[in-house]
Amino acid sequence: MISGYLDGLEMVLQLGTLLAIAGGTLLGIIMGALPGLTSAMAIALLLPVTFGMPPVMGIGMLLGALCGAGASGSIPAILLNIPGTPSSVATTFDGFPMAQKGEAGRALGLSIVASFFGGVASMVILSLLAPPIAEFALRFGAAEYFSLSIFGLVIIASVAGKSLMKGLIAGLLGFFASTIGTDPITGVGRFTFDQLSLLTGINLLPALIGLFAVSQVLKDAFEYDPSARLKASEHRVDIARPRFLETLKHWRALMAGILSGSIVGPVPGAGGSIASLVAYDQARRFSKSPDKFGTGHAPGIVSVESANNALLGGALIPTLALGIPGEAATAVLLGGLMIQGITPGPMLFDNHDGTVYGIFLAYLVANAFMLLIMCLGIKVFIRVLMVPRKQLLASILVFCFIGVYGVDGDTFNLYLMLGFGVLGYFLNRYNFGTAPVILGLILGPIAESNLRRGLQAFQGDWTPFFTRPISLTFLIIALLLLVITILQNYRARRPA
């Protein structure tokens, strides 16, 4: 194994490979930071470039894009309250309030360092424990996925909104929206109104951009105040630097992020979107001052961002160990692996030519480049806030349109984005929150299709949902969380 790592190191420590990784990371950072552009697109763009390259170099470049985009989604989340990717939704909870206090530089500094630690820790876990974790992920059948999504729904309701009831309502709204489109089991169209674009359901990206970006632009436009320009310039650039010690000080939040990312991340299809929420929820529950979460509290940012990059390492586990990608970005990455002639599977880890170790090390190097580029860029990013509000709002809207149209060139999605923008504006105004809607939209199909798939596989018998141990565990935890949250809300309303 040590000789494997030495061989791998030799493959990584070559000028061409290092440049390729750095280039991939830079592209990933740019695309992750622009709302509407995703890491999957960055990897797909780079894919043809990697053909002529040796495996570690090509895969290293793709991993760089994955890692860069995973970290940079937090930039617009913190600065503008607009998550660049679905997994940075939870970054807005504390990142934006901190930025509003004039400490955007501090929030960015925390998120960069937390992302780095999350990424490195997950790679260590991946290199040591990938095969057993992958085996565990295989035990997830329909019942387990269903219970996991119910657990996710309860977490959404408890973290996202100020009121449990309103959070649940917003989450169910997302659940409802997710039923639009082709029925996952019978193939019948539901609420599609003969609209071709609705056949695959509500596209996640227009909904995300609408609910977060367009609604935020609307809010800012309605509340536009010419004197606010002065306020923007109060942002202190001098505090914008990476925050190593401060991040380590919040080690509980960091651990919560790394563990949730590494444990929930490997579950294909479900992990990515909820790992950061689970991390946020855990960090808050084990915090001595849970009330401060949501007001610009540092551990909130640390937990989410470390989870965000830890889950990438987590998602690589089933991709490398089983050849099963968890979501879009790792699916494209798998294509890259196969083109290179690398067959994912357990024997990849027994391989003695060092390629797999080269891949691990390349991911570590990608994390280092991510840290470096983000640290160099932090003072540039923060200048976004110096742009006068008027011009900023207009350019955000332009990026939203380009990003959403760029996905598939379908104008219908632009209307969808605007519709969700208006919906998001009112949801925020009446304190329902927009995060539960998007998470409902993500978890809805997982819950529905697995409930029905399970019932079909168990021939109409619903008891396996309660008798299978993993499934039962999730349901019990979900119930406990719900009870605890209700009790907490009850106590908060009746101060002693």
Binding site: L199, G323, A457
Partner: protein
Amino acid sequence: MKKLLGTLTLAAAVVAAPALAADYPTKKIDMIVPFSAGGGNDTFIRALQPLLEKRLGEDLVIRNIPGGGGAVGMSRAVSSRADGYTLLAASNAMLTLEAMGNVAFTHDDFDFIAKVVEEPYVIAVNSDGKYKDLKSLVSGATSDTPIRIGSSGVGSSAYITARAVADITGANFNLIPYPGGSEAISAAMGNHVDAVVLGGSELRSALKSGRLKGVAMSYAERSDSLPDVPTFQEQGYDLTLTVWRGIAAPKGTPEAVEQKWVEAIKQIVAEGAYDKTARNLGTEVSPLYGEKLDEFIDHSAEVMSAAAGDLAK
């Protein structure tokens, strides 16, 4: 310096050549992939992209237009101008959509330029499971408990093939649709289903790692890529189908454009430049052009529509 000169000469040659031929192409060409990035269709064309660009001398812009199991992107392709600057990365999905009656177009609305690669459909079981071959699956399925067969989404070509397998073997299959091939594979690895029916390239790493075992495949004869997997034919079932991928254009595309593409692809095939990549992707280069291609497409469309049966609208 020498290298730079070489590059320049090559570039000049590449730019000059098409001008002599038929002036095509003079600008970048849009290639519609009717699925999201990372799928079989997408990887197929992205791997071919640099080779095609070199021969055609123009950029190929890959546009992923997912939705409706390929319906959205294909509809877009059909309604594009037939000038050779909008083409489609085509596959079985077109014929399945047609068979299901979900779309307004048929395969007659396209000019097929080339079939480039193909792969078989494979039915595979968990290597540690209780079913070891097609025979035990079929006989096991006739008792009260049907055999759970995973496949990709309802109406996908793999799903329709799974139905065709159920029809032809007469076995009691409980077909469970998953959103995509990888979800179905992980269900088979975790013993949540008894078998899966999927394209060979999707199953490639699972088969190669020995987690899953192929028990039958849909070629007429055994293939070098999966030498241990017997065909349906040799096990007594008359089922021959292939997953194919190629290039199509909207109906009425000029003959000269088609020739240009056929030449480019023939050249790539002759040089063997795509062989290794195709093999790595779990497919085989099996080119087909002109009338033979049209016959092949017509035949596949018939088989698909027969298998879709009562699923169709």
